[in-house]
């Protein structure tokens, strides 16, 4: 019983790493295309995260169910089923996006649909076949949160610098950098924020390690 609880905790914690330490975009470099070009306003960022969640979570869950199929079914057939699911999930995502903001689809253009073919599920779906459905669901949620955080941070930064606004509301910024909304600035912004994240993670690791060392010292002194 104790062991089971421990493993549950361990699993929960392991997937939580996806939010910062193993962030799918910043650290692993998956699903970069929408994060780089699509995210130049916060609205776009919200839209992208929404589609990402609506596509990735079901696909990962379905993939874990596909793991229960007999071994005779080849891997490529399973991937194809996942792709079909992803494509079908675009329809409700589109409807939902239209409900939130009518012009969201137009401002995202191609990148709205490109999210359906994001590399996160292409890489993770085969690995999710060995997982139980609830863990696949949890992983999908964590991936979505990680992706959303990245996209929201990048898009907020870019919108603020490019248009001097935040989610459409004007803020205090006397100088605007219109070029930050362009594709090249997207690359640079994602790169620099990734470096900042890595720097923070390294720093926090150092801090945690030093705290642990200190605790050990006290314990041995006692």
């Amino acid at each position: 019983m104790q062991q089971e609880q421990n493993s549950v905790k361990k699993n929960l914690r392991k997937e939580l790493d996806l939010i910062f330490v193993k962030n799918p975009v910043w650290v692993t470099g998956l699903a970069l295309a929408p994060a780089v070009v699509g995210s130049f306003t916060v609205k776009n960022g919200v839209g992208l995260s929404l589609v990402f969640g609506m596509v990735t979570i079901p696909v990962l869950v379905v993939s874990s169910f596909l793991g229960m199929l007999p071994k005779k079914v080849p891997q490529y057939a399973r991937t194809a089923i996942c792709a079909v699911v992803a494509a079908l999930m675009l329809i409700p995502a589109r409807l939902l996006a239209g409900g939130i903001a009518p012009n969201l689809f137009d401002s995202l253009g191609m990148y709205f649909s490109v999210v359906a073919l994001n590399t996160v599920w292409i890489v993770r779906a085969p690995l999710c076949q060995e997982k139980k459905p609830q863990w696949a669901l949890w992983e999908g949620v964590c991936q979505t949160v990680g992706f959303s955080i990245c996209v929201l941070v990048v898009s907020a930064l870019r919108e603020w610098l490019a248009y001097g606004t935040f989610g459409g509301n004007s803020t205090v910024l006397s100088v605007k950098f219109p070029a930050v909304a362009y594709a090249f600035a997207g690359f640079i912004t994602v790169g620099v924020t990734a470096a900042v994240l890595r720097w923070c993670v390294d720093r926090s690791r150092d801090v945690v390690a030093s705290v642990r060392r200190q605790q050990k010292k006290w314990r041995t002194q006692r």
Binding site: V27, T28, G29, L30, A31, L32, A33, V36, V37, P74, Q75, Y76, A77, T79, A80, A83, V84, A86, A87, L88, L90, I91, R94, L95, F105, G109, M110, Y111, F112, S113, V114, A116, L117, T119, I122, Y182, A183, F184, A185, G186, F187, I188, V190, G191, V192, A194, A195, V196, R198, W199, D202
Partner: protein, 198 residues
Amino acid sequence: MNNTLIGIFSLLLTALVLQNAVFSRALDITSLLVLPGGRKGLRQFGLILTGITTAAALFAALLNPLISQWENVQYLRPVVYVLILTLLYGIVCFLLNWKKRDWFHDHSMLLTMAFFNCAAYGAMALTVYSGFHWLESTVYGLGIGLSFLLAVFLLEQGRRCMSICNIPKAFRGLPAELVYVGLISLSLYGLVGHQLAA
């Protein structure tokens, strides 16, 4: 005849440089940056991708007149495209699994990444947005694939150059490469000007 040739050539150049799939649209940047297998793997991937984008663009152009009469076509178009890709993927995998089992076993992940990919989808979507007929869209699809190969070539130079740079620890690897690609994109900006990525 001459005019069509010139038109096709200029279209190819446009797809290669002016609307480079990687530098101005960031399509497929993930496979460019994180695909394992080194230089050789990336080149192989680029070749496979070129074939796929060409075929996908051709199919999209052929299917476009059929589906454009549907109701709510803008809802269904992406779905149809992904389904076409899936179908192509299934057929190719089946054939390869049947005929060249060993090769397929080694390269199945590469193939999956190349099929379910922004570039393949982008080739289909962009040809339809631009209203090309089938020859033009095939050339455009080829151009997208070739532009990925061009990006592979440029990034190879960048990786070599960065291998002797004393890059700060936080930037090493992915972030520095992203900034590098961004600066190449900036240099191409002088050629393109600002065009909204469709």
